[in-house]
């Protein structure tokens, strides 16, 4: 019987199916960061348990770390400092690899996993972080878990899971010029809503997906959770293998060839059935901008802020009403008329080398508009080093951007990088929830290209009409 990629990976990882209980699934890679792990390690200590497979557990500091030059000093916020130091102590006590703030491999956990070659097709990957879905771009089953489940994985290297449903998100046709992976996923969430994928694992398919780079695929899988799906995945292909080859922790030599042969068998079989199908016509896509306070509240750059009265569902109406009030927006305002105070290029969604290249191409030869404060936080220290080797830092700095260190930073503002009340920000991140980037801050989600163009224009502008300078 034909199988989906999800079913194949699931079946490879079934440890036990005890009567009346959820399946016990083996976990190949467990990523750990400072925020969701301390209570899990404490739980192990209290029960006198060990980490079962420390060599399958990798950790880094990303949420709390400052992105300025003080980052290798002691963190000023005493509670944040304690959390980072707790991770250091736990990694030492339980013999876990830690990419600390002074490591070249440090970075946002969902950037460094692929970058270092830990993330591989066919794997099961978990992390106490909802954006773990990112790793599905390589054809792995990757999803976020809570701290109790982190403890469970540390102790047993397994998780108890009921088999989720499957959803195919099929992109028909070719992507129009100037439209990006970020626009594909924002359009999808706009269509299905923030709960559309609840209970499902998504697989993204179609020609436009095949034509995407790995960075683009990661952007899409990353935001699966914003559509309600814990995991999103894309079948591995030559693009995947080419991107992975030679990375530090991928198989080498003959093992690599054998691995690739195996990975090629993972793709969903012809005729396999998904529980749900969503089809998106690429020809209808444009650059997207979020106007509200959840990632389903989006429209196109040529659109306007909606009128809440136009929503048929009363709850959607109330939600739009409160979103416009929070965002300080009037119904029917053209999106291009929305001016900005801040621009943030960063996060596990859009801060990889290609994202930075694309944004740099937009800002090159231009300058950030007068009152706008624009910042770039590369997704990892290695990404930063590579970008600097290409001179991207100079492009950004000459254009008036701040070029900073890596970390989650202003995606969620656990470190000192936050918006002040009322500030409006074009952000390449994944969530526009109230207060996400700072209490009272107003977040608009966009692609790196759109964020870069907005920084220069001082307001949203259609990057398809951009004056690219060489």
């Amino acid at each position: 019987m034909p199988k989906t990629m999800f079913e194949k990976i699931w079946e490879r990882h079934v440890v036990a199916e005890p009567e009346g209980q959820p399946t016990l699934v083996y976990i190949d890679l467990h990523l750990v960061h400072e925020v969701t792990s301390p209570q899990a390690f404490e739980g192990l200590r209290l029960a006198g348990r060990k980490v079962r497979r420390p060599e399958l557990t990798i950790s880094t500091v990303d949420h709390n770390v400052p992105t300025d030059e003080t980052r290798t000093e002691e963190i000023k916020d005493p509670i944040a400092r304690q959390q980072v130091e707790t991770l250091r102590n736990n990694c030492k006590e339980f013999d876990i690899t830690l990419y600390d703030v002074d490591s070249r491999a440090q970075g946002i956990v969902h950037v460094i996993g692929p970058e270092q070659g830990y993330t591989q097709p066919g794997m099961t990957i978990v992390c106490g972080d909802s954006h773990t879905s990112t790793h599905g771009a390589f054809g792995s089953l990757a999803f976020g878990i809570g701290t109790s489940e982190v403890e469970h994985v540390l102790a047993t290297q397994t998780l108890r899971q009921r088999k989720p449903k499957t959803m195919e998100v099929r992109f028909n046709g070719e992507l129009p010029p100037g439209v990006t992976a970020k626009d594909m996923i924002l359009a999808t969430i706009g269509r299905i809503g923030t709960a559309g994928g609840t209970g499902h694992v998504m697989e993204y398919t179609g020609e436009a997906i095949r034509n995407l780079s790995m960075e683009g695929r990661m952007t899409i899988c990353n935001m699966s959770i914003e559509g309600g799906a814990r995991a999103g995945m894309i079948a591995p292909d030559e693009t995947t293998f080419e991107w992975m080859k030679g990375r530090k922790y991928v198989p080498q030599g003959a093992d690599w060839d054998a691995a690739v042969e195996d990975w090629k068998t993972l793709a969903t079989d012809e005729g396999a059935e998904f529980d749900t199908l969503v089809e998106i016509e690429c020809s209808e896509l444009e650059p997207y901008v979020s106007w509200g306070t959840n990632p389903g509240q989006v429209t196109t750059i040529s659109g306007r802020v909606p009128n809440p009265a136009d929503f048929s569902d009363a709850a959607d109406q109330a939600s739009a009403d409160s979103a416009l009030e929070y965002m300080g927006l009037e119904a029917n305002t053209p999106i291009e008329d929305i001016s900005l105070d801040r621009v943030f290029i960063g996060s596990c969604t859009n801060a990889r080398l290609e994202d930075l290249r694309r944004a740099a191409a937009v800002v090159k030869g231009h300058h950030v508009a007068g009152a706008v404060r624009a910042q770039v936080m590369p997704g990892s220290t290695l990404t930063k080093i590579q970008a600097e080797a290409e001179g991207l830092d100079d492009v950004f700095k000459e254009a008036g951007f701040e070029w900073r260190e890596s970390g989650c930073s202003m995606c969620l503002g656990m470190n000192p990088d936050i918006l002040t009340p009322g500030e409006r920000c074009a952000s390449t991140s994944n969530r526009n929830f109230e207060g996400r980037q700072g209490k009272g801050g107003r977040t608009h989600l966009v692609s790196p290209e759109m964020a870069a163009a907005a920084a220069v224009a001082g307001h949203f502008t259609d990057v398809r009409d951009w004056d690219f300078k060489r």
């Binding site: 490879r12 440890v15 036990a16 009346g20 209980q21 959820p22 016990l24 083996y26 925020v35 969701t36 301390p38 209570q39 404490e42 029960a47 348990r49 079962r52 949420h63 916020d77 509670i79 304690q82 959390q83 066919g122 106490g128 972080d129 909802s130 773990t132 976020g144 809570g146 701290t147 109790s148 489940e149 403890e151 469970h152 102790a155 047993t156 290297q157 397994t158 108890r160 923030t194 709960a195 609840t198 959770i225 309600g228 814990r230 195996d262 959840n294 709850a315 959607d316 109330a318 939600s319 409160s322 969620l412 503002g413 656990m414 969530r431 929830f433 109230e434 207060g435 996400r436 209490k439």
Partner: protein
């Protein structure tokens, strides 16, 4: 884990859809290394004014809902991040059960790891409970896990679904890890097998 069997309690209404984890417990409070100390920060941005004084317009600040142990809210409750700090904060605020038409997956799991019960009722049933909680003072319901029902004194009765394994764990207050370690042999066998080594 604390058991959940049957709970009769005051209902507090939070009549919004898509209440996300950033609202339940904002990021600046995720830095603690304990499982406790989050309750006073639950719904922080809605609950307090700039000067730290309670916002009288936030419904859960009303005296009649202060001692509520059951929260009723709109669809897709708990969307967003995987932070287990969200159920920890709600638990410390006094909520042991949350009634909604739907929950985000990770939040739902996290609740049940902490002896808390996410109860999925139909939109119509939620509207009924929400309406009574908004209109009356002292409105109570009983959530009965054994029978999987929600009832009130007016004869309202609704039933809900729950994974039988989760139900049993909640009723008995069982932790997953202990149960899984009973399957240690299967885990070791898997690790020794070809798939496990791959």
């Amino acid at each position: 884990m604390e058991k959940f069997t049957q709970l009769t309690g005051l209902v507090a209404p939070l009549d919004r859809v898509n209440v996300d984890t950033d609202q339940i417990i904002p990021k600046q409070f995720l830095k603690r290394i304990e499982r406790t100390g989050f309750g006073e920060f639950a719904f922080f941005d809605w609950r307090y004014l700039e000067d730290g004084v309670e916002n009288p317009d936030f419904i859960l600040n009303q005296p009649k809902y202060r001692s509520a142990s059951i929260l009723v809210s709109g669809r897709n409750f708990g969307s967003g991040s995987s932070r287990e700090h969200a159920p920890w904060a709600l638990n410390e605020m006094g909520f042991r059960a949350i009634i909604a038409p739907s929950f985000a997956d990770i939040f739902r799991n996290n609740c049940m790891q902490n002896g808390m019960l996410p109860v999925v009722l139909t939109q119509e049933e939620v509207d009924t409970v929400m309406g009574k909680a908004l209109q009356r003072t002292g409105y109570e319901v009983t959530v009965d896990l054994e029978n999987q029902t929600v009832t009130d004194g007016d004869g309202f009765e609704a039933s809900f679904d729950l994974d039988p394994f989760r139900k049993n764990s909640l009723l008995k207050g069982l932790d997953d890890i202990g149960l899984t370690l009973e399957l240690e042999g299967s885990i070791a066998d898997f690790e020794a097998s070809a798939t496990g080594r791959a």
